[in-house]
């Protein structure tokens, strides 16, 4: 197998059981270059081994996945992160995404879905779980256009295009990218670029609801 088809993956999770479970599910489809169970060691080893994708547990003692992300991104901004979590709690998701993760999936994701998600993140695209798509729709809800205009500094970033909204809705309904492409009669590549655009907005937008929501929980 060539290097391109086998992403190099690093696992960060404080539960050994889950790490071995994920390892087993990934099988030969990826090359696991290392594991870590705590924040400090993870940052050091990730920078040293420079994997393509880091599978990151959101809940960890010592600052959680967010601390790992921040520690690594300072040094090696090219390393991509896919967040894994047992909880669908929006505050956890939004914290790691805004810290720079390229995607978020729940831990009960199936093996094949996880492999696909890792590949997608490795090739630079975003991965949204159904819950994340739902959250984004919620945070970028279209209220009366009047208030949006009033509170928005950057309409480019603070609003979703109708097409992005459609893509997110289909993700929330449980459609895979391929199915979305068929449904909307566009290419899979276009679906991917829509999702990446949404991820960028999620990370950069100062939309009132988003920042207010995050600052209420002391995430920013």
């Amino acid at each position: 197998m060539s290097d391109q088809s086998v992403p190099r993956v690093f696992l960060v999770d404080d539960h050994a059981l889950l790490r071995s479970g994920i390892r087993a599910e990934l099988g030969d489809n990826v090359e696991v270059v290392g594991e870590a169970d705590e924040v400090e060691a993870a940052i050091e080893m990730i920078i040293e081994r420079a994997p393509d994708v880091v599978l990151l547990d959101v809940h960890m003692p010592g600052g959680g996945g967010k601390a790992v992300l921040e520690g690594v991104v300072k040094h090696s901004p090219s390393i991509r992160f896919l967040a894994l979590s047992v909880s669908d709690a929006a505050e956890d998701v939004i914290a790691v995404i805004r810290a720079g993760a390229c995607g978020y999936v729940t831990k009960n994701i199936s093996g094949t879905e996880l492999i696909e998600a890792v590949r997608r993140v490795a090739s630079g695209d975003a991965v949204f779980s159904r819950h994340l798509a739902g959250f984004v729709l919620d945070a970028f809800r279209q209220e009366s256009t009047e208030t949006t205009r009033m509170t928005s500094f950057d309409p480019e970033l603070d609003q979703l295009t109708p097409r992005e909204r459609e893509v997110l809705r289909l993700i929330a309904r449980g459609y895979a990218y391929k199915e979305i492409a068929v449904e909307l009669k566009i290419s899979v590549k276009t679906v991917e670029s829509h999702v990446s655009a949404v991820l960028r907005k999620l990370q950069l937008s100062n939309r009132y609801q988003l920042t207010n929501w995050a600052s209420e929980r002391r995430l920013l």
Partner: protein, 461 residues
């Protein structure tokens, strides 16, 4: 001991090194052997027999009883600290001159090692100044009022006490953190018990002196006014001063008891929480684990139990409010949707993955939509053989939509026997009656999706 301190100061402080002619003379004088012999043992340096004069006047930061004013003045004048303290204490009884002077110097003189005095810091802080001015005005008003009532005895005591008290307030509010620590230590020292070091003895002595003095003044006022008629206010002031005296004496003991009580209560609350959590874990997780062990031969049952427990625990951890109120009938769409998720998972053994965007109150139309969605979910759980069912509900300004999707076996709509009313009656017709719309899409081997939409404008108005 005095010699050691003097040496340490002259070695450390650059101010002490700058000698004025007078200072030099002073040292020459003290280096006279006969004088040194009489005051100190032979081995100590001659200059230690009497204090070297230090300039400028600074409040001392160690070995001081209260604010370091006496020690500072003693160093400035080259006198023993103890004598200065004794004289100062005596002057305090002459209409409180000593006390007022002490507080004045405490505020205006810079502490050793600090760059500004308490007074200059206070003047610079406008907010602080306002507070102090307000309190001063209040105290002044009270004093004048008392005088108007006609209490000749108040003059001698009231004014010095008031001025000293205000000075103390300024000191407390604007002293440096280092000095505040020292003052707190002073306040916290126990009056009766818990004395361990000589330092706390000193503090206790100070506290006892102040407390007993205040109590004595109070008793004096009381006895003077008690015999006279119409001197209730004087008696009141006497009682207040007496109370202040007792407070000074016993406050630390009282405060400590209070603190112990609070920490005890906190500990009890913590223990209670721990017990609650243990009880909940026992009722839920441990019970489920034992059930799982008993049904280890039945993977479907194990998965069902695990799922129920997971949902329960998740709700307990992340949505505690919803967890405790779920027994009541749902009043919003989100609550009703969670009920559907729970019922289908518990009764049909399929995982329901629920995503809800937005929320709205339950009215007849929305309830119909949810009932149809529930039917669709149950159908998927019963017939599709899919491991999980995706349910997505979105509430928009003018539309409520619900999608129930599975990736199971699917079916062909034409092949559904006419006697099976589930889809046509429970879903499609129900939606039409509610003013909405239902679309069922299914293909063999590719799963099924039921899309329900309900215009919201007429549902709400």
């Amino acid at each position: 001991m005095l010699a050691k301190r003097a040496m340490a100061i002259s070695g450390l402080s650059p101010i002490a090194e700058r000698r004025s002619p007078w200072q030099d003379q002073c040292i020459t004088e003290t280096s006279n052997p006969s004088l040194a012999d009489s005051a100190a043992p032979q081995s100590t340096p001659p200059s230690a027999s009497r204090r070297r004069i230090e300039r400028p006047l600074l409040r001392s930061d160690d070995g001081c009883a209260l604010g370091g004013v006496c020690d500072g003045v003693a160093r400035r004048l080259g006198l023993p600290t103890k004598s200065v303290r004794a004289i100062w204490t005596l002057t305090a009884f002459i209409f409180g001159v000593g006390a007022i002077a002490y507080v004045t110097l405490w505020i205006t003189v810079t502490r050793r090692g600090e760059t500004s005095s308490i007074g200059s810091r206070t003047v610079r802080d406008r907010r602080e100044l306002q507070i102090i001015l307000a309190i001063s005005t209040l105290v002044l008003a009270i004093l004048i009022a008392l005088q108007a009532i006609g209490l000749p005895d108040i003059d001698g005591v009231g004014w010095p006490v008031a001025v000293t008290g205000l000075g103390g307030l300024v000191v407390w509010r604007k002293c440096s953190s280092d000095e505040r620590l020292r003052l707190q230590e002073l306040l916290n020292a126990a009056p009766v018990s818990g004395i361990t070091s000589s330092k706390s003895w000193k503090v206790v002595a100070l506290r006892a002196t102040v407390g007993i003095t205040l109590a004595a003044i109070g008793i004096g006022l009381l006895s003077k006014n008690g015999s006279r008629s119409g001197a209730a206010a004087g008696a009141l002031v006497g009682a207040m001063v007496l109370g202040a005296g007792f407070f000074t004496l016993f406050a630390p003991w009282w405060l400590r008891t209070l603190r112990e009580l609070t920490s005890e209560r906190r500990e009890r609350v913590r223990a209670q929480e721990r017990a609650d959590m243990a009880a909940h874990l026992h009722d839920s997780v441990l019970q489920t684990l034992s059930l799982i062990q008993r049904s280890a031969h039945d993977p479907v049952e194990v998965a069902r139990l695990a799922r129920i427990q997971e949902r329960d625990l998740r709700s307990w951890l992340f949505r505690p409010a919803a967890f405790w109120t779920r027994a009541e009938s749902p009043s919003t769409l989100v609550q009703a949707a969670a009920d559907i998720e729970r019922d289908v998972e518990d009764n049909y053994g399929a995982a329901v993955e629920l995503v809800v965007v937005g929320d709205c109150p339950l009215d007849v139309a929305v309830s119909a939509l949810l009932a149809a969605g529930r039917e669709a979910t149950i159908n998927a759980a019963k017939w599709s053989r899919a491991a999980s069912i995706s349910v997505f509900i979105e509430v928009e300004a003018d539309l409520v939509s619900m999608f129930v999707r599975d990736l199971g076996t699917g079916f062909e709509l034409q092949t559904v026997p006419p006697d099976r009313h589930g889809i046509s009656r429970s879903i499609i017709e129900r939606m039409q009656r509610a003013g909405g719309h239902a679309v069922v899409r299914s293909a063999l081997g590719e799963g099924t999706e039921v899309a329900l939409t309900l215009p919201r404008s007429h549902a709400q108005l």
